[in-house]
Amino acid sequence: MTLDMLQQTNNFLGFGLGLRTQHFQEVITNQPNIDWFEILSENFMVAGGKPRYYLDRIKERYPIVMHGVSLSIGSTDPLDWNYLKQLKTLINHVDPPWFSDHLCWTSFKQINSHDLLPLPYTDEAIKHLSERIRIVQDFIGKPMLLENVSSYLSFKDSEMTEWEFLNTIRRESGCFILFDVNNIYVSSRNHDFDPMDYINGIDVDSVLQIHLAGHHDFGSHIIDTHDHDVCDSVWELYERTLRRFGPVSTMIERDDNIPELNELISELDQARNIYRNVFSNLSSENPTTKPAGLIE
């Protein structure tokens, strides 16, 4: 299989960036070499104005996927149908190939933490999340991806590893995985596990998207800040992730200390180079892995 053939594989969007307000105008004016954008769903769940104005123009030129932060799929609160209806309205407008949120909970008794809080890795949580994911997927009618989050504490109640938890939920709910390589690195340092155990513990056909990002390393622990360049350790893990999962749509998230667009494109080129190195060496007969297939 050649590099070109791999890039034409179903679901592979190429190399994208998180769409940020600072870059709206430049994206429209210069149409930079970025294959796709990810938007933060909540930022565009508004009636109108500048965000929607720019979104409509950018989506004419670029594929867009949607990424949410407040579905709170792991919360024991009832699902918020008002939020889901707003999300569906935006999804119908944007028509992304998939939408995503996080393997976490953010709210409890209608109060919002505005943070991605970790879950205990238990059978009860698996059952709870799988059921809710199935309901959300059925309602939205698009493939849903769940992203592994960075975490700073773990629970005595946990009965399995995070990757066993995520993998089981994926199998039982039928969702896909947004594999955040930086989050795996951050959590591996904070909880002292081998990130390769995580990468190798996830089913190869389950990952539809990869996130790369920077963090702040305090030595004793790491905080996931998205305000730095991607570090070397994460680039190394990215290469190993590609080797396991095959060609997966990849993007860089930057949420703070946001640089000029050109700088982010240069960083994205590093991902492209790693991708080329990994897949240009594949034999022409069979890649070791196949990309995930979408729900029809």
Partner: protein, 258 residues
């Protein structure tokens, strides 16, 4: 432990309402359990404070760091976020400032916060087509009396009892704000053709006109009302001039003649 109980303990810890949560967290590595919980507690506060700073930048300048911090900490405690979007976290801030010591002793603060909320509402209000002068010209003269108006969804009328907008303008220009003065004043705030937020001071008659437009009164009724406070021969010129001006600014969504 049931998932819901664990989440209750976590949330209580987040809001600094209990110490039991540490009993459910694994003690591991270089950080102790309290430090691990602190990361979440600090992030919770930092995120909410940042949201107030972003949405109420000028109020922050007016208060200075010390008072802003007192306000933010107090508001976070009094008003946990009940909206999924941080965009709405500070919706109750004007009311909080109005009833909470020491801020309530300075009513201009609540008004300043309310003005900034209006600016945010205008920023992401719904989009809509806008009527133009050319469209007005197409309406036959005999239909003008029954003509009604719909304003653009972003158009907001704001009334202040203090000179809060003048304070906002001064601070925005890095100038010291004027002393708070008790003065009734009306403003029109809207999003223009270029998606930029604008505001303009309103005379009492202009405000009257816009309020009547918003409640669906006909052009004839609006003119009759104006005639109670100005000479009849001035009404036509005044009302048509203002209408043309607002059409030009993109404030009028549609002219309804049926």
């Amino acid at each position: 432990m049931k998932l819901s109980d664990l989440q209750q303990h976590f949330f209580n810890a987040l809001l600094n309402q209990e110490n039991n949560f540490k009993n459910y967290v694994v003690d591991q590595g270089a950080l102790n359990v309290e430090q691990r919980i602190n990361i979440y507690q600090n992030a919770y506060k930092a995120r909410l404070i940042e949201s107030i700073e972003t949405d109420h930048e000028i109020l922050g300048y007016y208060l200075g760091d010390h008072l802003f911090d007192e306000m933010a900490q107090g508001y976070i405690k009094a008003q946990p976020s009940n909206n999924r979007s941080l965009r709405h976290f500070s919706n109750q801030l004007p009311e909080y400032l109005k009833i909470t010591h020491p801020f309530k002793e300075h009513p201009v603060l609540s008004e300043l916060a309310r003005f900034e909320r209006y600016l945010l509402d205008v920023f992401d209000a719904a989009d809509a087509e806008r009527a133009t002068l050319e469209y007005l010209k197409l309406i036959p003269e005999h239909d003008w009396a029954d003509m009604k108006f719909r304003l653009h969804p972003s158009a907001q009328l704001f009334t202040s009892e203090y000179n809060c907008v003048e304070c906002w303008q001064a601070l925005k220009a890095n100038q010291p704000p004027p002393k708070p003065i008790n003065q009734l004043h009306s403003w029109l705030i809207w999003r223009n053709h270029d998606q930029l937020t604008e505001f303009v001071s309103l005379e009492a008659m202009e405000r009257q006109m816009l309020e009547m437009m918003l409640t669906g009164e006909t052009f004839a009724n609006i003119c009759n009302e104006l005639a109670t406070v100005m000479a009849e021969d001035e009404v036509s010129l005044f009302s048509v001039q203002r209408l043309i001006n607002w059409l030009d600014k993109g404030i009028v969504r549609s002219l309804i003649t049926e």
